[in-house]
């Protein structure tokens, strides 16, 4: 039955989406289904992680087709951890959507597409096949395109077109790289690739393919120089959509980079990881500077998404076990914080009359003091104040950088941290301390009973997670270290995939397997 648990992160949201589509004309029922599906996904993801922590890498061969011929789903510590954290975000956003997504968007199929997006995200995390990963990226792209344009304002369509355009190029790169890799090795199963790629004679071609993958995944992850679509697209759609985009979508790109550049492309690390190091530094700096240059809360947060991707790439580029553990820790911390910040910015926007430019913000502390305390947590964590989660993740990466004596990247990381600190100070001054230019800001009571609970509860939950990770970092640190060990030494992953013996298909009615053979 373990194969079913491994497949459940795809099956649960897919079934939820299908059920929502069947009840197309009943949005109330869709809301219940979406909440139920997200809760079930969370429970199963927890079980999966527990199982992986206990029994090592779990593998499922879909349709009993043996690897490397069929599609393999693989849950190692990293995959299971990412699915768990993604399902927490899905639940938080599903709750927030109850108070945020308007009737027009609901009738346009918001709940269905949201669940399909989760299928794509979870599928990308769990798959062990490169072409299958491409398929899940497509699922994510199509659903995120719909989510971006749902609502149909001019600004949204503009953002959606940029998003689709850049993603089509990324997709073309991805497909090209997959085709070349298949031509060179004759396989697309990731574990099988890990075995075969080192034996390819044409090393130059392998490096070229690796760079194509950096471009393809880098566009998804919004690294320098492919980040320009992000701030054009991310501040336009519904808040619930923004939050899940900022929290999860770019991190799927980081996950794909992390997977490919620890498992498959490890032959020429001086070249590939050297490129990644430059990308990491440039991404951190441009993101942090960009966030300081704009004078709008949501735009500044969009730029911060870019900046913090840089930290994760930095860990991947250093590639020591400590650095990889730092990247995994950072992924979890950043997903929670970014989702929280964008959801929080949505609430702030409502309280200050539908605008988040600095000129319109202010007076939040007199109007909604408890909300300010809740928002302080992700902001402080973003800047890396101890004892919040951002502090530990940055500490891990800086220590990893110092250990390999790469002073330049450590300096860039620290300067970026300082710039982020500056931004957080500015946001706090503009949003909370300054008196509101339009008179008094509204309190959370103005949101109205049920909507107030739906909008604020996810913020409290996510802030609580950030505080918990910060004060009691040990469990997550241990899981991150386990995930890093699995990535640095992928032998267990490879053995689990290629050594797993699938059961032969059972025939109902005819016992002999020969019945299926074609008779001459």
């Amino acid at each position: 039955m373990i194969a079913w648990l491994v497949a459940s992160p795809i099956l649960v949201p897919l079934t939820t989406a299908a059920l929502c589509a069947v009840f197309w004309h009943r949005p109330a029922l869709q809301r219940v289904l979406s909440l139920g599906g997200s809760t079930l996904l969370l429970i199963l993801a927890g079980l999966l992680l527990a199982r992986v922590m206990e029994g090592g890498v779990q593998v499922a061969q879909m349709g009993s087709w043996a690897a490397p011929f069929g599609i393999t789903l693989v849950a190692d510590t990293l995959s299971a951890l990412m699915i768990l954290i993604a399902s927490v975000m899905a639940l938080a956003v599903a709750v927030y959507a109850l108070g945020d997504v308007d009737a027009v968007r609901e009738r346009g199929g918001y709940h269905i597409i949201f669940q399909v997006l989760m299928v794509g995200v979870c599928g990308s995390f769990i798959t062990g096949d490169l072409f299958n990963l491409y398929v899940w990226f497509e699922v994510m792209l199509i659903s995120s395109f719909v989510l971006l344009s749902l609502g149909g304002t001019k600004e949204q369509i503009d953002g959606a077109i940029k998003y689709a355009g850049i993603n089509l190029i990324a997709t073309a790169c991805f497909l090209l790289a997959v085709a070349l890799l298949y031509g060179v090795t004759g396989t697309l199963n990731m574990a099988d690739l890990a075995v075969r790629v080192p034996h390819v004679a044409n090393k130059g071609l392998v490096s070229t393919i690796a760079v194509l993958f950096i471009i393809a995944f880098g566009m998804k992850a919004a690294v320098f120089p492919f980040f320009f679509w992000l701030h054009a697209a991310y501040h336009t759609p519904a808040v619930a959509v923004q939050a899940i985009f900022a929290g999860l979508l770019t991190k799927v790109g980081v996950y794909a980079l992390l997977r490919c550049f620890t498992l498959i492309f490890t032959g020429d690390m001086g070249w590939t990881h050297g490129i990644l190091m430059w990308i990491a530094g440039a991404t951190m700096l441009t993101g942090a500077l960009g966030s300081l240059a704009v004078r709008d809360l949501r735009r500044a947060l969009s730029w911060q998404v870019v900046a913090h991707i840089g930290y994760m790439i930095m860990g991947l580029a250093i590639a020591t076990p400590l650095a990889i553990a730092g990247t995994v820790f950072y992924l979890v911390h950043d997903i929670v914080v970014k989702t929280n910040l964008f959801l929080g910015a949505g609430v702030v926007r409502r309280l200050s009359g539908g605008d988040t430019s600095y000129a319109r913000l202010g007076g939040l502390f007199t109007a909604a003091p408890i909300l300010c305390v809740v928002l302080f947590v992700p902001l402080a964590s973003l800047a890396g104040f101890p004892p919040f989660s951002g502090f530990w993740s940055k500490l891990l990466l800086v220590r990893a950088g110092l250990a390999v004596e790469n002073w330049a990247i450590v300096a860039v990381a620290l300067v970026t941290g300082l710039l982020t600190f500056w931004l957080v100070g500015r946001l706090w001054a503009e949003m909370v301390w300054k008196s509101n230019p339009a008179g008094d800001a509204l309190g959370t009571a103005s949101l109205g009973g049920a909507a107030r609970v739906a909008l604020v509860a996810p913020l409290v939950l996510l802030s609580a997670i950030t505080v918990t990770i910060g004060l009691y970092a040990e469990p997550l640190m241990r899981v991150s270290a386990m995930a890093a060990d699995g990535l640095v030494d992928p032998q267990a992953y490879i053995d689990a995939v290629l050594g797993a013996v699938p059961t032969t298909p059972t025939l109902v009615g005819a016992a002999e397997p020969a019945a299926m053979e074609v008779q001459p």
């Binding site: 099956l11 989406a17 299908a18 059920l19 069947v22 197309w24 349709g63 699938p502 009615g509 299926m516």
Partner: protein
């Protein structure tokens, strides 16, 4: 579009095309064909009906909303994978019921892939007709 020739021809063609699409679906079991192509042909039949008689008529003919049809097809596809469960096999492992003729030779093998194909058929019909409906209702 109001054309007597088109309407008369559509009346005849609709049934034929739907029957042909089901034949293609069934043929796909062992030979070229299948749910996707079959679904396309069926969707074209309904789209032709919409062209000749208007979208309202098509909706009346279809009874269910195309988007619900899509969801139903998806559910059927997922369901076909669950038959693997009782035997302890992974998701999507095929299950077969094999019928034999009087001589004991294999005559017909019915399996869960057929169910999956019917699911694909419904998804394609639902998706295409949802698009046709959205585009034709716009103006």
């Amino acid at each position: 579009m109001d054309s007597l020739i088109l309407r008369t021809a559509t009346r005849l063609l609709l049934t034929l095309m739907i029957l042909f699409s089901i034949f293609i679906l069934w043929r796909g079991h062992n030979e070229p064909g299948g749910g996707f192509v079959g679904g396309l042909i069926c969707a074209v039949a309904f789209a032709l009906h919409a062209l000749a008689f208007g979208v309202k008529e098509m909706k009346r003919l279809l009874v269910v909303d195309p988007r619900s049809l899509l969801g139903g097809g998806l559910l059927l596809g997922i369901l076909s994978g669950f038959f693997a469960g009782p035997g302890g096999d992974p998701f999507m492992t095929a299950r077969w019921i094999i019928f034999k003729d009087a001589t004991g030779a294999k005559a017909l093998a019915l399996g869960t892939p057929v169910l999956f194909d019917i699911g694909v058929y419904l998804v394609v019909v639902g998706a295409l007709l949802a698009m046709v409906q959205a585009l034709m209702e716009e103006d």
